[in-house]
């Protein structure tokens, strides 16, 4: 199996789906000639032409809204938002339209669109090129929100998202793009949406997280293993709607739970995870739930020391797990 990067898995998934299904096309700012500002659509313009890899005007609400219309016609648009921070002009189209069309039309009209957006920080992007936007959409029935952590998951989940008959927001961690590599089968496979994945079996402490943080935890777990602390790691993969059963099972597994997100703490996706656990397995817990998240300040500043101060650090991860293990 080839070892490829997270972003290569994105490109591969797009390429495979485009060649598999004529209805799949890509649209967004600079996705064509330029191959995307991160190069996620690299080579697709050359391969599929300007009709299927469409450079759009600079207007996110139109990208989403036109994509929705095309999806209603029976196409499977994959719309790129250049940075997740810039999805907000499209919030109305995504929340009022894409998410609600099936419901409001009593199942007559459907919107099989995939909206891809790079998110996350640690890339010196400042306030508006580092944000986690998932919480804003994670209270909107009708949407699915996928956040993969590995190249393998990227490919399988992106392909599944494109084939899904409902709108999917697919957040890609921009720092993972080139940092994270992994084995990815060359052939066609899909992974189920809505299912969390156990990334590591363990006995002492359960960590539930998603995105790039999965790797922080894996690293910490290696280290802690040597101290005799065994970490169980659940990767949410779909952050809305959440995989309740998997969360409950993972929490019960060790009775000690650490929830992690790169997002601001209050009102984040892990708040809902905490609520699910508090509702369903309170008496299985041996320690209070812990959350490790970014501080409740707007986003990470540009200056390096400030960016660092904002981000969750590996030492913190280890410390939280250790504290829980010792609780």
């Amino acid at each position: 199996m080839a070892v490829i990067s997270y972003i290569e898995a994105v490109t591969q998934a797009l390429d495979e789906e485009m060649s598999r299904d004529q209805n799949v096309f890509v649209m967004g700012e600079d996705v064509g000639k330029r191959g995307g500002v991160f190069q996620a659509t690299k080579g697709l313009y050359e391969k599929y032409g300007e009709n299927r890899v469409i450079d759009t005007p600079l207007a996110e609400s139109a990208i989403a809204g036109v994509g929705i219309g095309a999806a209603m016609y029976g196409m499977r648009p994959v719309a790129e938002m250049q940075f997740s921070d810039f999805m907000l002009p499209a919030a109305n189209q995504i929340i009022s339209e894409a998410a609600k069309t099936r419901y409001r039309s009593n199942n007559e009209w459907t919107v099989p669109i995939t909206i891809r957006a790079p998110f996350g920080g640690g890339v010196h992007g400042g306030l508006y090129h580092s944000q986690s936007m998932e919480a804003i959409f994670a209270n909107v029935p009708g949407l699915k929100i996928v956040i993969p952590s590995t190249p393998y998951d990227v490919k399988g989940l992106l392909k599944a998202s494109i084939r899904d008959n409902d709108p999917v927001i697919f957040f890609e961690h921009k720092r993972a793009y080139r940092l994270i590599k992994g084995e990815v089968p060359e052939d066609d496979y899909v992974l189920p949406l809505g299912k969390a994945d156990i990334k590591r079996e363990g006995r002492d402490v359960t960590v539930i997280t998603y995105g790039l943080m999965v790797h922080d935890v894996l690293q910490a777990a290696e280290k802690l293993e040597k101290e005799g602390i065994s970490v169980h790691l659940l990767d949410l993969r779909t952050v809305y709607p959440l995989d309740k059963d998997a969360i409950i099972e993972a929490a019960r597994k060790t009775g000690k739970v650490l929830l992690m997100t790169e997002d601001n703490k209050e009102g984040s996706v892990i708040s809902e995870v905490a609520a699910i656990i508090a509702e369903n397995c309170l008496f299985d817990l041996d320690a209070p739930i812990r959350r490790l998240a970014a501080p409740d300040v707007p986003a990470m500043p540009y200056a390096h020391p400030l960016e660092q101060a904002f981000m969750v650090k590996p030492e913190q991860v280890e410390k939280e797990i250790r504290d829980l293990a010792e609780f």
Binding site: A62, I68, E97, R102, Y103
Partner: protein, 341 residues
């Protein structure tokens, strides 16, 4: 059957030169009248406490019906907005279906009673699902046109909206997108001079909504919203352009909203009775009937028959809709996502 109008009529025959037969224009008038009478009935039903809410089409039927007749009813995609009774009737929705919609019953083809009245959507008729936040339908219509173009389908995508709504960002982004890609879209703004209480001058500083076309490099045209033939001609020309691959057109029907914004509105808090009365003199339902009479297509007998037939249809539809069942409570959970079982 009606006789072809004689060439000795005093009034100039305006429809023949548009390629419309006498039967065509009588059909147009029938749809306009039907929309008007249904609307009037809805207000009665509302006052009788039978339906909680009315959104009204009165004053805009002419433009709506004229537009519908100019499109290809077998192929084109349409995204009518909440006042488009005339349009949806001419497009194939029945009075019964509209009544089911207003009574919010399970059988309503638009949303099964899930949405407020006037939120149209009918897959069978290639009519997109409409929501409440205004102007969101504009980019959808552009997306339909983009998809059709990508698939090589010769389809026109038609969308309507109010003049107040033409101030939303989505109007701008959709128009620009359509024009950059030369997509077969017809944007029809039904300018009724009010956005709830706010009059035209407080909404736009340009003379005509169609002036905005220049900024998108597309043709723009304003026509008399009380004249279905003007609407027909304008939409036909735009559709022809679209079919020729020349891209979108921005049209504006200059009309007036004869009733309050909705049954929740009190329009005399922001406009005078006199202004409304003056507008009624230009009412397209009346003036088009005058035209048809003058040209010899409509006489008292035909008119009475028409009214009678429409009344009967509305009575039956109302009766049916009133007694039709609501969707059951358990269905509230359905269709959030695809039912996979």
């Amino acid at each position: 059957m009606i006789r072809e109008s004689s060439s000795t009529t005093q009034v100039k025959n305006r429809h023949r030169e548009l390629g419309l037969s006498d039967q065509d224009v009588l059909n147009m008038y029938t749809q306009m009248l039907k929309a008007r009478r249904v609307d009037e009935r809805l207000w009665l039903l509302n006052r009788a406490g039978k339906i909680p809410f009315v959104v009204s089409c009165q004053g805009q039927e002419a433009a709506q019906v004229g537009a519908a007749f100019a499109l290809n009813q077998k192929k084109d995609y349409v995204a009518p907005y909440y006042r488009d009774f005339g349009f949806v009737f001419a497009w194939g929705m029945t009075v019964k279906e509209l009544m089911l919609n207003n009574f919010a019953k399970a059988e309503d083809p638009n949303s099964g009673g899930r949405q407020m009245p006037g939120h149209f959507g009918y897959r069978k008729l290639r009519m997109l699902s409409h929501s409440s936040p205004v102007t969101t339908q504009n980019p959808h219509a552009v997306g339909i046109a983009l998809a059709a173009k990508l698939k090589g389908d010769d389809v026109v995508s038609f969308v309507t909206f109010g003049e107040g709504s033409s101030n939303q960002g989505d109007f701008h982004e959709a128009a620009n997108f359509a024009s950059v890609f030369k997509l077969p879209v017809i944007f029809l703004c039904e300018n009724n001079h009010y956005a709830i209480s706010v009059s035209l001058k407080r909404q736009l500083a340009c003379a005509h909504v169609s002036d905005r076309a220049t900024g998108y490099g597309m043709p723009g045209k304003t026509f008399d919203g009380n004249d279905p033939l003007a609407a027909y001609a304008a939409v036909k020309e735009a559709a022809d352009r679209a079919h020729r691959g020349e891209g979108p057109t921005l049209l504006e029907a200059d009309g007036y909203r004869l009733m309050p914004h909705t049954s929740d509105d009190n329009d005399l808090s922001y406009r005078t009775k006199k202004e409304v009365e003056d507008a009624k003199k230009r009412d397209g339902v009346l003036t088009f009937a005058d035209y048809l009479r003058a040209i010899g297509i409509l006489d008292e007998v035909t008119e009475e028959k028409l009214e009678e037939q429409i009344r009967k249809e509305i009575d039956e539809a109302t009766d049916y809709a009133e007694h039709a069942p609501f969707a059951t409570a358990d269905t509230v959970f359905r269709y959030v996502y695809e039912d996979k079982d």
